[in-house]
Amino acid sequence: MRSSLGLFMVISCAVLLMSCEKELILKDQDVQDKLVVTCLLDNDRDVKVYLTKNMALGESSSLNCIPDARVELYEDGTLLQVMPFVIADTGIGFGYYTINYHPIQDRKYGVKVIHAQYDTVSATDLLPVVPVVTMHEWVQKGDKGNRFRNKYKIRLDEDGGRANYYRVNVFRKGVKYNLTSIKDTVFSNYDASCGTFVTTALKDTVRDYSFFLFGDDGINGSSTELNLEFEAPELLSTKTETLCISLYAVSKAHYEYYRTLEQYRGTKDFIEPVKVYNNITNGYGSFNSQCGYKIEIPIK
């Protein structure tokens, strides 16, 4: 009797702990094929437009670039050029539409894509003005508690006439290596106890392990000192390297796209999903822009 009861309990426990996992069969969704446009305009780079299409649930996600579309680039409403398609990777047949032209700050750019099998899609974005940096300097290289902790100051003259958005990146140049999440660049009111992580003046910030994205809500129109605090043990090494600090002015489309993209990437199962920002009319993707102020600092 005792052994039967024991067996019964063990089997019952095993049944309880057996999670049953199955594929959920849902009715096929009626998905219309649409074009996907991806483009990041940069005042320092040629214009490149990636063109792909959407995929239904269950469809293989092979890169499906579309080479036979008519892609028109507009500047301040005037057709600049029809962009030719260029194969970038012959192995997988992937390419993009490009022209040898660097966009100009404070001008409005548009793209229009025409293809016989898809709805015509379009998008516009205003290339922002290069941030006005009036001063930048080292504040501290290491402190008593942590010799790898560094602090660099940038003074930004914020244009109060409009809503602005910014992104900061800090890199070492010369190696394929970014500062890790622990050694991230953050805006902080420097505090040896690390009680404050992000300055409260900034709102709706987005922080990934390689960049910091923020709007000017809270600092709008003021001359603001951005205190960049980051961990970088290499700065104390004997190697000769270059530290790169980039402060980009980015468009709202850029800010919204990467803000939602970062939230999307952090989404876990069974959490209300994030809808990634989309500014493509009749299609999907992102057409956004940035304009950078770059600082290169030799370090030993």
């Binding site: 019952s12 426990c13 049944v15 309880l16 702990l17 057996m18 999670s19 049953c20 996992e21 199955k22 594929e23 959920l24 849902l26 969704q29 998905v31 996907v36 991806t38 780079r45 490149k48 990636y50 792909t52 649930l57 269950g58 469809e59 293989s60 996600s61 092979s62 890169l63 970038a88 992937f94 942590n146 790898f148 990146n169 890199f171 970014n178 622990i182 050694k183 106890s193 690390c194 009680g195 992580f197 990934d208 390689s210 960049f211 961990e231 043990p233 790169c244 990467y258 993209l261 939230q263 952090g266 989404t267 199962d269 069974f270 959490i271 209300e272 999903p273 809808k275 990634v276 993707g285």
Partner: protein
């Protein structure tokens, strides 16, 4: 008018009405032996509970004229049986005393069946009806009994809390002997924190809201625990598949002035789960174990100070501990990695209350109540990685990350209630004050590795103090026999962060008894809520955070309107039909993609505020409450929507628990004095969710782009797979349903009652969806395919329990 005629016709075809030429009111007051009013005494017809006396000892029954047997009972006292022949409205006072049984004889006719469904639309569940349900893990769970009622639904497989008429779980005020309980569920919500042995009765207020209640938008679950019997020490011991419990109650001292009731329960699933999961994990190539324990204690002491004054003290605690640890090893040529990870979560409720009841002139009842409630969660996550190269003994790289987070809510309340019965009127007035201290998101983080050294971060949670004060007045008036009119006003102030919110919340209810057992009812109530609960339905064991209403996340307000009809038929049958409409303002929701109260950010920055909600629907109920075969069937047809400026492009969307159809049925059959069978079947439309429908490629993070730029390479090709979703909560998961059965055998040997119970959960092995997730499957060409997968928790699940009652 036409509807009224139809209702009258319905009543006329009722066979009972053929006998009942006229109905009369039987009312009065029940006292104990020392002339103390008997609060909560049961008044029964045909040996089943019908109504209970109120806090002033009063009762009121509507009975057609004729012969009738009525029995009055109160735990700790001898019951009184009365034979009546009703020929007119009758008022009697009953005195429950030791040993004597008074028999009164009058003429008689109609037997009014007992019911848990009150004429005013509220529901009162007795301990006996809770224990009729099939057990789950050997437990009689009061919350499962609640979920069997019309208009009440569970969230689905393993969901915490109950959802009443389209509201969320935090919109239900759960009171245990008057003290609020902030977390009513043990792990995943499978078992509630309320031990069936300790519960005397449970009242669900979802139709007629007494003005003395406030602070929540949807309903009140008022749970009264046992005070203990007055005669001798009694008790029970029970052991089930994963839990064990005991109850002991009786008098303290010889004067029969003081009684106590003590119940405790422990879950020992961790003893099995540790070894079983260890075996399962080993098959997957790593070491680890999962442990889970919980325990709860209910204690109550009641003392009669004088003939008219009684004091009660209650203590309750529930504690849960979850632990998961894992050690994984990875070995390749010239490389080894060890990963250790652990998660420990501890959460607990503590409540305590003292109530002083006093009667003045036999008409005024007075109650002073002080309570304390605490709920807190502590969560610890830890991960250590060690990497070894080329057979080295010491790790070349290590990282050691640990995070600890905690959150708590402290609630201290004082209330005073006064009730008075004057002929056709019952007047209630009172007030109270509540102080609540919140702290969400306190924590520490340790980040350590061999390149950066140790970093320690402290996070101070947002401590918020708030004070709420309220006064109320209510009158129940019976102008003539069929009418009961109730009107009241609940005024409430709420002060937080230097800002005060004022609410004036009217309540009204009308009850009409045109003929026999037919009742019509309608009501409206204004409600407000001064706190919010942030909860995510994820695989996390528990992630509920209570936060205060603030200037940004304003107090929730709402209106409830309802109307219905019920009829009590002969042989214990009854049916009812109710409609409801509810609007809510200032509800909150997490922002899209928020996985819980994230660190580094104030909780207010992680929520959408200013939400509106609306729910409406109809409930149908029929049941039989007396006889060998009893049972009920409840069907709810409902809609529930939400709207936020920052969600779903500002458009209205279905609430996650917008459950169109909900059915709950139960049957109980007493074969003989030894054997009893029970069965329940529940069905609910699937939970709403946002469906992934398509995807596209896009740029990766800017990390890739900048990295390429800095190294002079062309910008990366689009390499992120972005999933596009349907409109918010546009899709439904498969319907949720399961059949449970139970078999109980009882045998009394001298003073011991042995009880063996076999219950089977989910008899036909339906794989109800616990959670869904999107899964990607890689292909040789580097592409991936996206699919949706579901996880079910419980297949067919038998459980046994053995109980000995010491009589």
């Amino acid at each position: 008018m036409r509807l009224l005629r139809i209702l009258f016709l319905l009543a006329l075809v009722n066979p009972a009405m053929l006998y009942a030429q006229q109905s009369f009111t039987l009312s009065g007051k029940v006292y104990t032996g020392d002339s103390i009013v008997a609060r909560g005494a049961g008044i029964t017809v045909d040996e089943a509970a019908d109504v209970y006396t109120d806090s002033a000892g009063n009762f009121r029954l509507q009975l057609p004229g004729g012969k009738h047997d009525v029995r009055f009972a109160l735990k700790g006292y001898n019951s009184q049986a009365i034979q009546l022949v009703l020929t007119k409205d009758t008022m009697i006072d009953i005195q429950l005393s030791d040993g004597s049984i008074a028999i009164h004889t009058v003429e008689i006719f109609y037997l009014k069946p007992p019911s848990e469904h009150r004429e005013d639309g509220n529901i009162q569940l007795s301990s006996a009806s809770i224990k009729k349900l099939p057990q789950f893990f050997g437990e009689n769970d009061p919350m499962r009994a609640v979920q069997m009622q019309g208009g009440v639904q569970s969230g689905g497989e393993g969901s915490r809390g109950i959802f009443i008429r389209g509201g969320s779980p935090d919109q239900n005020l759960v009171l245990l002997d008057g003290a609020p309980v902030y977390n009513a569920a043990h792990i995943y919500g499978f078992i509630s924190v309320f031990n069936g042995d300790a519960i005397n009765k449970l009242t669900i207020y979802k139709d007629k809201y007494p003005s003395r209640f406030g602070g929540r938008l949807c309903s009140v679950l008022d749970i009264a625990t046992n005070s203990g019997n007055k005669e001798k020490i009694k008790g029970s011991v029970s052991i089930g598949l994963a839990t064990a419990r005991f109850n002991v109650n009786g008098p303290i001292g010889g004067g029969k002035l003081t009684t106590f009731d003590l119940s405790a329960r422990v879950c020992f699933a961790g003893l099995f789960s540790a070894s079983i999961t260890k075996m399962q994990f080993r098959k997957s190539g790593y070491d680890g174990a999962l442990k889970y324990y919980f325990g709860d204690v209910n204690a109550k002491v009641a003392h009669r100070i004088s003939a008219i004054t009684t004091i009660e003290a209650t203590f309750f605690t529930s504690n849960d501990y979850y632990s998961f640890n894992r050690e994984a090893r990875q070995e390749e040529t010239g490389f080894r990695q060890k990963t250790f990870s652990a998660q420990n979560i501890y959460w607990a409720n503590y409540t305590g209350s003292i109530a002083l009841m006093h009667t003045i002139n036999g008409r005024w009842g007075m109650k002073h109540h002080v309570s304390y409630s605490n709920y807190h969660i502590n969560n610890m996550d830890w991960q250590e990685i060690q990497q070894y190269y080329n057979q080295s003994a010491e790790p070349q790289y290590y990282s050691d990350n640990e995070s600890k987070r905690s959150s708590y809510i402290n609630d201290i309340s004082y209330t005073a209630d006064f009730t008075c019965n004057i002929r056709k009127q019952k007047i209630s007035v009172g007030g109270g004050v509540t102080g609540i201290l919140f702290e969400a998101g306190r924590g520490t983080f340790k980040l350590d590795n061999n390149s950066s050294g140790e970093l320690n971060y402290r996070l101070t949670g947002d401590k918020v103090n708030s004070i709420a004060a309220f006064v109320y007045a209510e009158e129940e008036y019976r102008p003539s026999r069929p009418w009961v009119l109730t009107a009241g006003l609940h005024g409430r102030t709420y002060t937080v962060q230097g800002k005060t919110f004022l609410s004036l919340l009217p309540r009204a209810h009308v009850q009409f008894n045109p003929i026999g057992g037919l009742y019509l009812r309608a009501g409206a109530a204004g409600l407000s809520q001064n706190l919010h609960m942030l909860a995510v339905n994820s695989t996390t064991i528990i992630n509920d955070y209570w936060v205060p209403a603030t200037a940004k996340a304003k107090p929730e307000t709402g209106w409830n309107m309802n109307g219905g009809i019920m009829q009590k038929l002969p042989l214990g049958f009854e049916w009812s039909m109710d409609g409801f409409y509810r609007i809510m303002s200032n509800v909150i929701e997490y922002k899209e993609g928020t996985a819980g109260v994230a660190v580094f950010k104030p909780w207010e920055s992680q929520i959408e505020t200013g939400g509106k909600g609306r729910s409406y629907g109809a409930e149908f109920y029929m049941g039989r409450t007396t006889g060998k075969l009893t049972g009920s069937a409840a069907y709810t047809l409902a809609w529930s929507n939400r709207q936020f400026p920052g969600l779903n492009s500002g458009a209205v969307y279905p609430y996650k628990y917008d459950r169109r159809h909900n059915i709950a049925t139960q049957l109980n059959y007493i074969i003989n004095k030894h054997f009893e069978l029970g069965a329940t079947w529940v069905y609910g439309s699937g939970t709403r969710f946002t469906l992934p429908v398509q995807s596209y490629h896009s740029f990766g993070t800017l990390n890739d782009i900048d990295d390429d730029l800095l190294n002079g390479r062309p910008v990366s090709i689009p390499n992120d797979l972005i999933i596009l979703f349907s409109k918010r909560n546009e899709a439904r998961l498969p319907a949720y349903h399961h059949l449970d059965v139970s078999f109980t055998y009882r045998k009394q040997v001298k003073n011991l009652m042995h009880q063996f119970n076999l219950s089977i959960y989910n008899v036909y092995n339906n794989f109800n969806v616990f959670m869904v997730y999107s899964d990607t499957k890689g292909h040789a060409d580097g592409s991936v395919t996206l699919s949706l997968k579901k996880i079910s928790l419980f297949p067919v699940l038998p459980s046994v329990s053995y109980t000995i009652n010491f009589m």
